[in-house]
Amino acid sequence: MSVRHALLGLLAQQPRYGYELCAGFTALAGGRENWDVKPAQIYTTLSRMTDSGLVTLANGKNDNSLEKPLYSITLVGMEELMNWFRDSVLEEPHQDAFYLKLMLSLELDEVDAVRLIQIQRTALFQELHRITELRQSLDPQQQLAQILLMDKAVMHLEADVRWLDMIESRLEEVQHQPPPKPYLRPRGRPPSQ
């Protein structure tokens, strides 16, 4: 959803060509290594938004023309963008793949939960190290926006590491508790009395 609204945001500044929007999105999102959106996806999104009337072609629609389409935002698109600004953004940190792994490991003798935590922690620290180096290589006078984005990544990774520490310290307790089990509704006809 964000790609669509980011494109609308770029178009709210001025009409732009497709390649400008690709470059504009990549710059905004902190570089291709940070958020890789393929041009194909951008063009598909643009054509969908044109169909639904959020965006229009400023230089007329002519399939035979050699001229590149110049996109501009419509009133409906502007309204959609403003709605997006009004909404807050909540991510879903509780849908966690590692959590699933850990819960399943508690029931399997073949997997050692402590080792699982260590592997995850090493990977988190390697990523933390990579982001820290990247952040250090940025110039605070020129690239403050990117630095703030890296800071967010650092803080999230830091929180993930602290969460692992917390799990590790309470692992024995949780091992003695049954993991969440589904409630299975009895199916079929109730047994006859």
Partner: protein
Amino acid sequence: MTMIEVKDLSKVYGSGETKVIALDSVNLTIEQGQFVAVMGPSGCGKSTLLHLIGGLDRPTTGTVTVEGKDISKMSDTTLTELRRRKMGFIFQFYNLIPVLDAVENTALPLILDGVKPETARIKAKEWLTRNKLEDRGSHRPDELSGGQQQRVAISRAMVADPVIVLADEPTGNLDSRSGDEIASVLRKIVSDWGRTVLMVTHDPRIAAYADRIIFLKDGRIVDDALLSGDNGDNAKRLKEKVEAL
């Protein structure tokens, strides 16, 4: 080249019922030019390990070898000499002398070692400049921020050109921004000046500046993770760990 080698190192405090095993048969090798962080819950033995490697404390059993010399059997005088020439210490509290300015504080270890005051001041100013304190040389500690005081303390630790720098919670008393500054100074000490740094910290974001993290728990090393260097190498280590599951 191996800079520090720790073999079967144990430290036991007290005896009988009040006996506390701070370190339990730790083995560890640290190469020259490596930035190593030691992490673990409080009371896991991380500071004890640092103190034993720095010769600030004597092991109960086992050995610590620095540049091929076993320091656990050295006499106090030889050990003091080695500490003064080869090691730099950085602590959570900067331990600067309040009545001396930044240059005098930094130059102090050299002056105590018999270096001519003028030469010592020149070396001190060099390190203060490297740590971006060139315009703070005549300031006394109470005229400096926490981060600046710690950078003076780092300059003082570096002034005698140690090969090993030992830092015990160097950012423990600082806000996160000054903490980052200190961590990047330590990073430079390794990357730009080729020294070996061993740092105890409980802060993941500070540990992330290091090349390697040792995790201690109940006096034992429970994990040892390489953070940088050849990515293929890291992948291999991770794969080995996965296979050990």
